[in-house]
């Protein structure tokens, strides 16, 4: 029998005790710190967990040993920063199938302090190593923005419009005490910040931080017995396209977004007008534009005006990236967990920058450089 909207719920959610610069914790401890906080949130002990998921370089077997968990179901799906959206989707299916009852999903990354962090240069025999690395890319800031100029030319997007994405998200960050950057910025501030990889400047690139997060899922029928109000999973979607940004089919749109997003909407049975709150993984300033269009919130080329006109700002009709996003809140390297945490907080009514009356939140993640995508639809009401 197919899984029904709201059949599985998130009953525990927490970030690591501190985010930003956390030099007192190695990568594995950031996972564990968040896991302990999430178990406290759910009123559970490690012995209550029978399913576990995390993403490499940390392997599930390292974490279950460290945390003292004996899992009956394990998922190490690793498709970059949206892996957690896929973990949520896979865990929901596993609980539905009866493989396990209570799943813990963890993230921890010492992105800034680099304690026990693993470097990931492309292997010289991989396709990236042969057909991208020799031409001088150095990490995400040089690769993720590769399609932007084509997108700008196709839809007539200005540098000011791309700067506005960072300005709006900083407004949200100003309302979040845990956000790394909280001072208001202007379009001029963005366009005068240090050039990193034209067309993007420093304030259009994500932070690099330390931090972790964890989620606990169980069936909605059991969820009522937990201390927190359940956050129901209405639907989800996932896809993958390529590890090579140079080979994405269309530089103005992500195929992985176009598969994952609509599938999550279909499964949830929601319409765009039902969405009260939206998270779109923003490693760089163009991602919210691609996300708004590929998920169908606006038409092709309309996202620039939609953001420019204030629709995603505090008080706007579609509050977007309300923690401040990867640009201003935190970005450990795999930010998707933090987008999910903010969606959970908003649906629980417990966010620092709480949007009034959130019933439905859509949380959309990207992995790698448009490599993969995962979308999760959350609600505080079970249909």
């Amino acid at each position: 029998m197919t899984i029904k909207p709201g059949e599985i719920a998130i009953v525990g959610a927490a970030e690591s005790t501190r985010i930003g610069a956390v030099p007192e914790m190695s990568q594995i401890m950031l996972h564990a710190d968040a896991a302990l906080n999430a178990m406290a949130d759910a009123g559970l002990k490690p012995s209550d967990i029978d399913g576990f998921a995390c993403v490499g370089p940390m392997m599930p077997q390292q974490l279950v040993h460290y945390l003292g968990i004996t899992p009956k179901w394990v998922d190490g799906t690793g498709v970059g920063g949206c892996s957690f959206m896929l973990h949520v989707r896979h865990a929901a299916a596993a609980i539905h199938a009866g493989y396990c009852k209570t799943v813990l999903i963890t993230h921890g990354e010492s992105g800034k302090s680099r304690i026990n962090a693993t470097p990931r240069p492309p292997e010289p025999q991989s396709l990236q190593g042969q057909f991208e690395a020799p031409f001088g890319p150095m990490g995400p800031p040089t690769l993720f923005p590769i399609p932007v100029l084509r997108y700008m030319k196709t839809y007539g997007v200005t540098h000011e419009q791309l700067a506005q994405v960072a300005v709006v998200q900083r407004e949200w960050a100003g309302k979040n005490p845990r956000a790394a950057f909280r001072d208001p910025i202007t379009i001029d501030d963005v366009l005068n910040s240090k050039m990193i990889a034209y067309p993007f400047r420093l304030l259009q690139c994500c932070l690099v931080t330390d931090g972790g997060g964890a989620l606990i899922l169980t069936s909605a029928d059991r969820a009522k017995d937990f201390p927190q109000k359940p956050v129901y999973i209405l639907g989800s979607g996932e896809s993958a396209e390529t590890t090579m940004v140079s080979q994405m089919q269309d530089f103005t749109s992500s195929r992985a977004f176009r598969v994952a997003g609509p599938e999550a909407f279909r499964m949830s049975g929601i319409k765009h007008s039902d969405v009260d709150h939206l998270m779109i993984y923003d490693a760089f300033a163009h991602l919210p534009l691609y996300g708004l269009e590929d998920l169908g919130f606006v038409g092709r080329g309309e996202a620039k005006d939609f953001i420019w006109e204030g629709n995603t700002r505090p008080g706007g009709k579609l509050p977007l990236n309300t923690n401040g996003g990867g640009l201003s809140y935190t970005h450990t390297g795999m930010y998707g967990m933090f987008a999910l945490q903010e969606s959970v907080r908003q649906v629980r009514g417990a966010a620092p920058a709480q949007v009034p009356d959130v019933k439905v939140s859509v949380c959309h993640g990207v992995g790698g450089m448009f490599s993969a995508a995962g979308t999760v639809v959350l609600s505080n009401e079970r249909p």
């Binding site: 031409f135 040089t142 590769i146 084509r150 050039m195």
Partner: protein
Amino acid sequence: MTLEPGRPRPEPTPETKHFWDGTKDGKLLLQRCGDTGKAYFPPRPFSPFTGTRNVSVFEASGRATLHSYVIHHRPVPGFKPPYAIAVVELEEGPRMMTNIIDCPQTPEALQLDMKLEVAFVPMDEAITLPLFRPAKEG
């Protein structure tokens, strides 16, 4: 032109060796799907369109247009910033990452859709990189 030392060096595999042998000989080799006739890249001994192993290698014209790029402003071994990391669209359809040479590395000089032609630049005795430069008039 010669390349500064320090660039990451590609290591050919059995599936890509013909491509790197080609660039060493001054040829840009693509592959074509036997079912659809469509060209594809990067190299693999089957078609990404239909899965058929009936594929052939052919020499591309070397003509391309500038599809998109970034201009990197940070130091990287083997490169003098600012330098453009570009994706070009080959006349035959596939796109590839490359660098644009014989051209100022500025947004003014690097216009999207400008015409380019391949230039084979040796990295060492075994590896030659396919770079691109503005196409000559006519």
